[in-house]
């Protein structure tokens, strides 16, 4: 099979990361975390490269990747939206907030919007139940996210983008 340029690049990048690790199966999860940290997700080629490096069946790498919540098989969006569905947030309407995000972004949890601007997922308690329902937007927890606040957050991103667009023009 011929490799595309993109695939070759992923292989190279993965190899570089692998150089820092020993060939121990126990390193699998830390390796996956590192690769995802740098590439943003776990492309097929990266998983193949890792399987080869650790001398383990490819399916076992895939099995580990699909088992854990942390790992993603698709590129993330530019902004990450994490709706807290911890107990306190759920009971204060976190599911309503999730619905509002789904409705506005037009995607389900675990997905990235077609324009690659946002990816949507859920998290369990982020430790600020006082401000329930919480949504973590780009690693910053936002409190009391009612559906109207969802619109507000999206609007501010849109304005930001328009401003940047104007500046670059």
């Amino acid at each position: 099979m011929v490799m595309t340029e993109e695939q070759a690049r992923v292989r190279q990048q993965t190899k570089r990361i692998l150089n820092r690790f020993g060939r121990r199966r126990g390193n699998l999860v830390p390796i996956l975390q590192k690769v995802q940290g740098e590439i943003g997700y776990l492309p097929r080629e990266a998983m193949l490269e890792i399987a080869e490096f650790l001398d383990m069946p490819e399916i076992d790498v895939y099995g580990v990747v699909t088992f854990y919540n942390q790992f993603r098989l698709n590129p993330p969006g530019k902004h990450s939206v994490r709706v807290c569905l911890g107990t306190a947030c759920h009971m204060k309407g976190g599911y309503i907030t999730l619905d509002a995000w789904k409705r506005r972004l037009g995607i389900d949890r675990g997905q990235t919007s077609p324009d690659r601007e946002f990816d949507l997922d859920t998290v369990a308690c982020v430790g600020c139940c006082v401000m329930a329902p919480v949504t973590v937007v780009d690693d910053k927890p936002q409190g009391k996210v009612a559906p109207t606040k969802v619109d507000g957050i999206l609007l501010s991103f849109k304005l930001e983008k328009e401003r940047q667009g104007e500046e670059s023009r």
Partner: protein, 637 residues
Amino acid sequence: MKITDLQSVLPAFQGIKSRAESQWRELRDGGKPVIMVGAATCGRAAGALEVLRAIKDELKKQRLDCPVVEVGCMGHCYAEPIVTISKPGYPPICYGYVNPVIAERLISEFILGDDPCLEFVLGALEENDLVPSFSDFPRAKFEKKVILKNCGHIDPEQVEHYIANGGYAALVKALQMQPEEIIDEVKSSGLRGRGGAGFPTGQKWEICRNAGGRPKYIICNGDEGDPGAFMDRAILESDPHSVLEGMIIAGYAIGARYGYIYVRAEYPLAVHRARLALRQAKKLNLLGKNILGSDFSFDIKLFQGSGAFVCGEETALIASLEGEPGIPHYRPPYPATNGLYGKPTLINNVKTLSSIRYIIQKGAEWFASVGTERSKGTAVFALAGKVVNTGLVEVPMGTTLRQVIFDVGSGIQGGKRFKAVQIGGPSGGCLPESALDLPIDFDSLTDAGAMMGSGGMIVLDEDDCMVEIARYFLEFTQRESCGKCTFCRLGTKQMLEVLDEITKGKGKIEDLDMLSWLAEDIKAGSFCGLGKTAPNPVLSTMSYFRDEYEAHIKEGRCPALMCRELIAYYIIPEKCERSCDACVGTCTVEAISANKKRIKVIDQEKCVKCGTCLDACPPQYNAVVKLSPPSQVPASK
């Protein structure tokens, strides 16, 4: 180990300790006001970093030079961001709900001027004549801070703060004891594991010490998967060295060579601080080769869990450390004899390990004097939900639920009625008002159908639907099930399906029998603790709140007005004010319009039941109501 080898230990530590103490003294008694900002995750979420920046800017602007310290979580999460100011001549005063504006005022009026801004005070940390202190609060009578003692009072990123407050003295003492003596001490303290099951810690240590096979490992279980709990994270963020110290002592006692701290990657701050603590301890030779000159060598690594509730289960946790999916393995043999890479492995919870230093230092007897006959020491809870004072709570075992919720937690928010308290997360259960006088300990909670679990305590009020909370937890365990065994993979899915139908008003009364029958089978038949406890939230709500289940099934009514398919939002025409359009604009799906008389009407077809209009309707009109069943909405004319 021969005691003679240890003669170097004490002097080696003396130097470290006196340096730390002088550093701490300089901070506390340096004649300058000290400002402490609570910057654990809870504080940061509430804006602590902005407050921190405002403080630093204001200090610079005023040309003031006083130390600003980032501390961990004091437990008063409801009042975050929290700032504590210790100014010479004043008691240390703690301020709550601080924002950048308040922060600036604290600097200009209290640090610069002499007005302690009483309007923002939460409480003083010491008794005094000027401001009420925390010890005057009713909750102080019930709280007893042991493992949370340092949290929020020291900078978790400075090992010197920890040492100056008595840290690592227990390790030094332990290194001068025989390992068996340490184990005896832990055994007679009566400490039971805080990870949920309450297994006697000393006994586990002994088994592990006596097990053959080298090297031995110690794992600190900080997976904390309960979706409503954050104690372990708070401890790792606020006092990481207390966990390390417990691990090192455990390592010495059982003869381990390596240790792992297992923290989930979703807890970046805890990961960062634990890592930093490891580096600091290593530098001071509190970790590594020949610790403090003894012949005991011990190393600890940090491992980031990738987020799967089942990885809290010890065999699954080990599998994930070995690079496998977190699927539980068959026990026996137990990890204590055959654990990580088949070697003897001691797994203890964060809180268990951070209790160790107090047992060694103050003695088993002291530890055992707190708590009940069979549950010794204190219990740490993450108090959340509809309670006024959410946050971290530490009380002696044996304190009643009522005391925790109403005295420490100051009761229910907004004057609503208490309905239930959910304890033990997905493995636990919901207890009603009648159970409030139960003492909190391992055995009585289990007898009542809940569980000590990991320590999440969620308070529910009249607006919370008991069927929905059961469905929520089941959905969680179902999603987090590893999928290995039939009962958990398919059984919880069947139960969830039925609960889904009930919350949508499509349940049948026979379903309740099927649910309890299947729940019993899942408990008896599942492979690991996840499946074995997954039905608890359903069983406990079915036994204490059966009437709510029946209302959903028989009347299509959700008594708490929570289940979306069973409620409708309705604007009472008589109450709606013609000139007000507050709701119209806020509706996210444009379901509200005004009729000819300018009375607002909700289009039930379009309504997604998000409740925005109910919040938007000004209190003087209060025209929007929830009705259940939805058929209560009068037909539009």
